[in-house]
């Protein structure tokens, strides 16, 4: 029984990390039709930032900035020329992803490194270890921040407008290029924060991002493109599914189970959990 319960915080914290990663992806995909495989390397960059700084709390904002700027540079230099061409962006960003992983290998070496967890995160309450709680708190803060940004700020409302109807947004006087840059910056920055979170539950290596990027894409597809609510529910569900599938079988079989469940779900709801509904679109 306790072993079964112990999987709960593990599943929830994996879900929390997936959520932080998927938030960026769901908006770049929903808003710009970009499949950004290099998003995983922003996670890695965030994790190495925590490794270099050696201080968890300082690493959070710095990792956000580092990963955010990487995303911005990638968007301006390459991706913006391929908007609405998902397959081209997939190949392009996959290449970028491999280059960034090699760069990390050159800079930090191929072996994994360990980031020591701060002493104040040792221990826990009941079945909930503090480090896992901290990660969940981080995801909650991330979602609340994104929600406030989207619904309570001018720029966020513009972002929503671009997601809903890019041409209409442009002809309403919105500088869609700037909104795209900002979305990329914030989305990539959140991946950096996810990377910092991951240093609390495992070692850091050049391929860190590749372990999470596929699951994060599953969250995006299952949750519905550009949908905050959908991403939250799908991330929690996938995190729990992952950890319990692993608990009852083994790591590789768990992946198969997760894939099978998501594919079965998409057979029933191809549009994901939530979609944008309106008379204009129906």
């Amino acid at each position: 029984m306790p072993a079964f319960l112990n999987q709960l915080p593990i599943g929830l914290s994996i879900g929390a990390v997936l959520l932080l990663i998927a938030l960026g992806l769901t908006f770049t995909f929903g808003q710009m039709g970009v499949i950004n495989m290099a998003h995983g390397e922003f996670i890695m960059a965030g994790a190495y930032t925590a490794f270099l700084l050696g201080d968890l709390l300082a690493a959070l904002p710095v990792a956000f900035l580092v990963a955010g700027v990487m995303g911005l540079v990638l968007e301006r230099a390459a991706i913006r020329h391929f908007y609405r061409r998902p397959l081209d962006t997939l190949l392009l960003t996959w290449g970028v992803s491999l280059v960034l992983q090699q760069l990390a290998r050159d800079l930090f070496g191929a072996p994994n490194v360990q980031v020591p967890a701060p002493s104040w995160l040792a221990g826990g309450v009941g079945i909930l270890p503090y480090n896992r709680l901290f990660i969940m708190g981080l995801a909650v803060a991330g979602v609340v921040a994104v929600w406030v940004y989207l619904t309570r700020t001018k720029l966020g409302r513009r972002t929503q407008a671009v997601v809903q109807n890019r041409q209409l947004a442009a002809t309403s006087g919105i500088d869609t290029g700037r909104v795209d840059m900002l979305t990329f910056f914030i989305g990539s920055g959140l991946a950096g924060v996810a990377g910092v979170a991951l240093t609390l539950i495992g070692p850091v290596g050049p391929a860190l991002g590749t372990y999470y990027i596929v699951d994060a894409f599953l969250v995006v597809v299952a949750g519905g493109l550009g949908q905050l609510r959908g991403a939250v529910l799908a991330a929690i569900a996938l995190g729990l599914l992952n950890s319990y599938a692993e608990f009852w079988s083994d790591a590789s079989l768990a992946k198969v189970i997760v894939f099978a469940v998501v594919i079965a779900f998409l057979q029933v709801r191809p549009q994901g959990l939530f979609v944008l509904r309106s008379r204009v679109l129906t």
Binding site: R157, A170, S172, G173, S278, R279, V280
Partner: protein, 229 residues
């Protein structure tokens, strides 16, 4: 005020416009007509910059705007109401107006001015725009265009697929705005409405201008013949 010269554009390799030229003088209402699929929407999309021009120029107040982004053209005083009463469905009616007024850097008072033109929107301000009827959405779309304080209003089939009572309101609103001095570039498929509103006609066929003239020069019969399938 708006001058389009030798405009060509299309989608990928498919060219739709083959050298279209037209003028809109200040305060004038120019109506573009033509059969389905001749390129009317393509023309307006290229004029506002949603589609890039592959050849030709667009000038506004004597300034070459052919390479400007749509939002830059909006800030110069052009407003566009696309075909199909489009709005931001998850935002409220007021939200739709606010986002546009902010983006166009106009004062909030511009919303009140737009609601004077479309008073029917007032009781709906808190409603989600996605839940309005087509006619209400079209009025919202036009109000959204007005809050940018345009000097040229570009309308693509504002009466298409809209309940008859609201068609009358929309026609009256266009009439009033035009009478107040606003220049309008209008695409309209109903000949009777076009004949009542337009100062000039531009008739498109196969991506080219086949006839243009002042309303008096062009009799209903002739237009009807040019538009006949």
């Amino acid at each position: 005020m708006l001058s389009v010269t030798g405009l060509e554009s299309g989608y990928g390799r498919a060219r739709v416009l083959f050298g279209v030229s037209l003028e809109v003088e200040p305060g004038q209402l120019v109506c573009v007509m033509g059969r389905n699929g001749v390129g009317k929407t393509t023309l307006l999309n290229t004029v506002i910059g949603v589609l890039p021009a592959t050849a030709g120029t667009v000038t506004f107040d004597g300034r070459d705007i052919t390479r400007l982004k749509p939002h830059e053209r909006v800030r110069l005083g052009m407003a566009y109401v696309p075909q199909g009463h489009q709005c931001f469905p998850t935002l409220s009616v007021l939200g739709n107006l606010l986002i546009t007024v902010e983006a166009a850097k106009q004062p909030r008072a511009a919303i009140d001015a737009a609601l004077e033109v479309f008073p029917a929107l007032r009781p709906l301000l808190k409603r989600s725009a996605g839940h309005l009827s087509g006619g209400q959405q079209q009025q919202l779309a036009m109000a959204r265009a007005l809050v940018t304080k345009p000097r040229l209003l570009i309308l693509d089939e504002p009466t298409e697929g809209i309940q008859p009572s609201i068609v009358l309101e929309i026609e009256a609103a266009i009439q009033r705005l035009h009478a107040a001095g606003l220049a309008v570039l209008l695409v309209e498929q109903y000949l009777d409405i076009a004949l009542r509103l337009a100062d000039r006609f531009v008739i498109l066929d196969g991506g080219q201008v086949v006839r243009t003239g002042a309303a008096e020069e062009l009799h209903g019969e002739e237009v009807r013949r040019l538009l006949a399938v």
